[in-house]
């Protein structure tokens, strides 16, 4: 009896629910023209919007956007390839819900459909990265990692993806034993790499890796020069508040020059840079004291000028 009483009310509620559904359907119908208005977006706009969804972690919306462009563009068109690439990245990198097999299939599709398109090299690199990032327990040896990157370097010489692959390959090579790997092997390869103007966008990174190689080879002057070169070839992000903040690099160069290379002029130059360019940095206190010591030793440019 107690349980029967609410039944008539429930019927009334279900009537309300039915009414609600009708209203909701009407509302949804009202929304349809809005979704159609998306056609007015250019494909590039939808692709950019989808990348923003990807960055925001809204992977379903990102995938829907890439899917939409894929559906309305023709095979071989640049936007079509961009959409496949975006979708592949989404399925590969989304967490949770990743589908790496599906992503690999999409990367492969670009490689098959447009092997000469610049995107093909990025897809090949992405397939390599999939293998490397999946290897959480470190089963792949450094030699295998190096070989994977080397495949991209050989297949797409000079292309941006190949330059990135080369940088990653040499980073992996550092840890490999001689004769195939090791710092001594890295030095000539990267020295040639950074001297080629075609690689200028990656020169700074190349010098940075060279500095680590020289450190392992216990060649402090070369290490210092590589660090200086890395900084001088650095391309700045003009919007970053840290774009001018090279204090960490200045410190590395200064102490290397001061303690190991015994190049007082270079040490003073970079201690001064810390003081002048980064007044809030924590290294400034000892940069000042070090500068005072070096200047008291009497090899500063001021003293030379005085002579």
């Amino acid at each position: 009896m107690i349980f029967r009483a609410p039944l008539p009310n429930l019927r009334r509620i279900s009537g309300l629910v039915r009414g609600g559904i009708v209203v909701l359907a009407a509302l949804l119908a009202g929304c349809l023209p809005a979704s159609k208005s998306r056609d007015s977006h250019s494909d590039a706009d939808v692709l950019a919007e989808s990348w923003v969804y990807f960055r925001n972690g809204e992977y379903n919306k990102a995938a829907a956007g890439f899917d939409e462009v894929m559906g309305r563009t023709k095979q071989g068109e640049p936007e079509h390839l961009q959409a496949i690439y975006g979708l592949a990245c989404t399925w590969s990198l989304r967490r949770p819900g990743e589908d790496t097999a599906r992503a690999a299939g999409l990367y492969q599709r670009i490689l098959d459909e447009a092997p000469d398109d610049p995107l093909a090299s990025w897809c090949a690199l992405a397939l390599v990265r999939q293998k490397i990032t999946a290897d959480i327990t470190g089963k792949l040896s450094h030699a295998e990692v190096m070989e994977l990157y080397d495949g991209i370097v050989r297949r797409y010489p000079g292309q941006p993806a190949a330059l990135e692959a080369l940088v990653c390959r040499e980073t992996a090579r550092l840890r490999m034993p001689a004769p195939e790997g090791g710092p001594a092997k890295v030095v000539p390869i990267l020295t040639e790499f950074v001297q080629d103007p075609k690689n200028s966008a990656w020169a700074s990174v190349g010098h940075l890796i060279l500095a680590s190689a020289y450190r392992a080879l216990n060649q402090p002057r070369s290490e210092m020069n590589a660090l200086i070169q890395s900084m001088e070839t650095w391309d700045k992000d003009p919007r970053s508040p840290k774009k001018d903040d090279r204090t960490r690099n200045y410190w590395q160069i200064a102490v290397l020059a001061d303690f190991q290379v015994k190049d007082a002029e270079t040490a003073k130059k970079y201690y001064r840079k810390i003081i002048e360019e980064s007044p809030q940095d924590k290294r400034i206190y000892y940069a000042r004291i070090a500068l005072e010591r070096l200047e008291a030793q009497g090899t500063g440019p001021d003293r030379e000028r005085d002579r």
């Binding site: 590039a44 960055r55 990032t133 970053s240 303690f259």
Partner: protein, 571 residues
């Protein structure tokens, strides 16, 4: 008959519920209407600052802004700190979040980064434009980010390479003390600024009993305060170890470098420097009230307000509350942390010097993506961070303004960041851990040391032995963690690469530049650091006596020249 009675009763119940719901609806609608009169654009601002000063200051700023913009209504949502993380998560996921939110507490940092990407607007496009409310001041025409004391570094999120927050204040930390009680117990009205005299004053305080017959406490503390003491006073004592373990030569001693140094025998925890760190910790914490490790911040403040303790550690944002507590009862003084300024024979190996203090932006606000009026939200943040308004806002709250040229209240002068000086391990050593196990081990030992169940040599011996034995075993865990990070970093870089491929014609394009910067900082640099650390661990990289090397300094007073290491050379 019974059935009829039941039906009537049940209908009455239903009617009562319906009436209640109607009233509740009416109340909510009425409340909302009062907050947001029809025709007004409402901007809600959510924060966790329940102190009356903050709400008053924001309210004053809001009313002044509304006078300039009569079609806008600003409404505050002040939420308790303890539930802020859950509240913000529900609001953001439900799409009901205020337009502007204070950000940064209640959730782990990686969750905040995810939220910044997903739920908040990036402010990067606006930070290079001038703040229109700075017109007529020396900041007129300057890029918005250049009008902050911290250069808006407190608003930049490195991981996503975007500006996402506007920090409206700067915070500092000092020792706050009861001047009257200090004078009564020590005869001194001003607290000594040097370590030894200050510790002596603490001992004299603790040697005397209060009106209740119990001894006075020199320093009111708690588990919350201990980590702050570690960061600002104990950990800087480790500065001298940098010369031995700064393997990546970045002038910062990371926990991983310390652990590697200990495990490889390059760093001896029984060295004078580390023992002085522990000794300083013991000397200062001996002046805390018994059982402080189990107490919370509020309990320490309570002890101070009851005039049973003389000193307490206080941020600039605590000062208003502490002054309120002391009002008409006792005078409050503010003291810089008395770190040794010259060599202390009782603390050998400790590098003396002032503590490094920089202006770090705080009280940060972000704009929620779902805001109906993001342009007004942005304009209101422009307004709050303009020179005159930021000065007024922070003066009312009792905090330090973050806008250049905005003057702070005189009572906060002692909190002005001191600039250059020595510094310790980031976040102190309270959380020494390169893995979950090592963290637990360290905390257990440190807790025993804090409550005097073990002494410094026991702690050092136990932890050194543990690290030497376990460090190499922890490698697979460290490698796996690093590799998981690679996958995460790939996801973050993919957006920049995707946009670069879509928008940038050449390698000099904005997205490519940012992509390469991200790749280097997130992938190449950690790899190179790992290479160096591994080389040091297995001996393939020779660090010599120290990672920096040595330098010859001329002898003084006829003494011969000598080889010294950093930082001794800098003394």
């Amino acid at each position: 008959m019974k059935k009829l009675a039941f039906l009537l009763a049940s209908r009455w119940q239903a009617a009562a519920i319906a009436l209640f719901l109607l009233w509740a609806h009416g109340a909510v609608v009425g409340y909302r209407a009062a907050e947001a009169p029809p025709g007004k654009k409402v901007i809600r601002i959510g924060h966790w600052q329940l102190e009356p000063g903050v709400r008053t200051a924001l309210d004053e700023a809001a009313r002044a802004y509304e006078k300039l913009h009569p079609d806008v209504r600003i409404v505050q949502d002040a939420i308790p700190e303890g539930t802020y993380g859950q509240w913000i998560t529900c609001q953001l996921m439900g799409g009901t979040a205020p337009d502007i939110l204070e950000v940064g507490i209640g959730l782990p940092s990686h969750v905040w980064i995810g939220y910044f990407q997903r739920y908040f607007l990036t402010l990067t496009p606006y930070v290079s434009e001038p703040n229109p409310y700075n017109r007529g001041t020396e900041l007129e025409g300057k890029a918005w980010r250049q009008t902050f004391r911290d250069g808006m570094t407190g608003g930049y999120q490195e991981e996503i390479q975007e500006y996402v927050r506007i920090p409206l204040s700067v915070h500092g930390i000092r020792i706050v003390y009861n001047k009257d009680l200090l004078e009564k117990l020590t005869g001194q009205r001003e607290a000594p600024g040097e370590l030894r005299p200050w510790l002596e004053a603490c001992r004299r305080i603790a040697a005397q009993n209060g009106p209740d017959g119990k001894p006075y406490v020199a320093i009111a503390s708690s588990s919350y305060h201990f980590t702050r003491w570690d960061q600002i006073m104990f950990s800087p004592a480790l500065f001298g170890l940098k010369g031995h373990a700064d393997f990546n030569r970045d002038a910062t001693l990371g926990i991983d470098e310390l652990a590697l140094g200990i495990a490889t025998g390059r760093l001896d925890l029984s060295s004078p420097t580390f023992m002085s760190y522990l000794k300083l910790m013991r000397e200062v914490s001996d002046q805390f009230q018994p059982g402080y490790t189990g107490l919370t911040r509020d309990e320490a403040v309570f002890l101070f307000s009851q005039q049973k303790a003389v000193f307490i550690l206080g941020y600039s944002y605590d000062l208003g509350g502490l002054l309120e507590v002391a009002k008409d009862r006792f005078e409050v003084g503010v003291l810089q942390v008395p770190f040794p300024q010259k060599a202390d024979p009782q603390l050998p190996g400790l590098v003396p010097g002032p503590n490094h203090e920089a202006a770090n932006g705080a009280f940060p606000f972000s704009i929620v993506r779902s805001s109906k009026h993001p342009e007004i939200a942005l304009d209101f943040l422009h307004y709050l961070s303009s020179q005159k308004v930021n000065e007024r806002l922070n003066r009312t709250i009792g905090w330090i303004p973050n806008t250049l040229g905005a003057k702070m209240d005189g009572s906060l002068a002692a909190y002005e960041p001191q600039g250059a000086g020595i510094y310790g391990v980031p976040n102190g050593l309270s959380n020494f851990g390169i893995s979950g196990d090592s963290l637990i081990r360290w905390r257990q030992l440190l807790s025993l040391y804090q409550i005097r169940q073990i002494d410094a040599p026991d702690l050092v011996q136990d932890f050194s032995a543990y690290l030497k034995q376990e460090f190499h075993k922890l490698r697979p865990e460290r490698v796996a963690n690093a590799r998981r990070e690679v996958a995460k970093r790939d996801r973050e870089s993919a957006y920049l690469r995707g946009m670069a491929l879509l928008r940038d014609g050449s390698a000099d394009g904005d997205y490519w530049v940012r992509y390469r910067a991200a790749l280097v900082s997130r992938e190449i640099l950690p790899e190179l650091n790992g290479f160096v650390m591994q080389g040091i661990e297995n001996g393939s990289i020779d660090t010599g006596r120290t990672p920096y090397g040595t330098v010859t300094v001329p002898g003084r007073g006829g003494k011969p020249a000598k080889e010294v290491i950093w930082p001794e050379v800098l003394k």
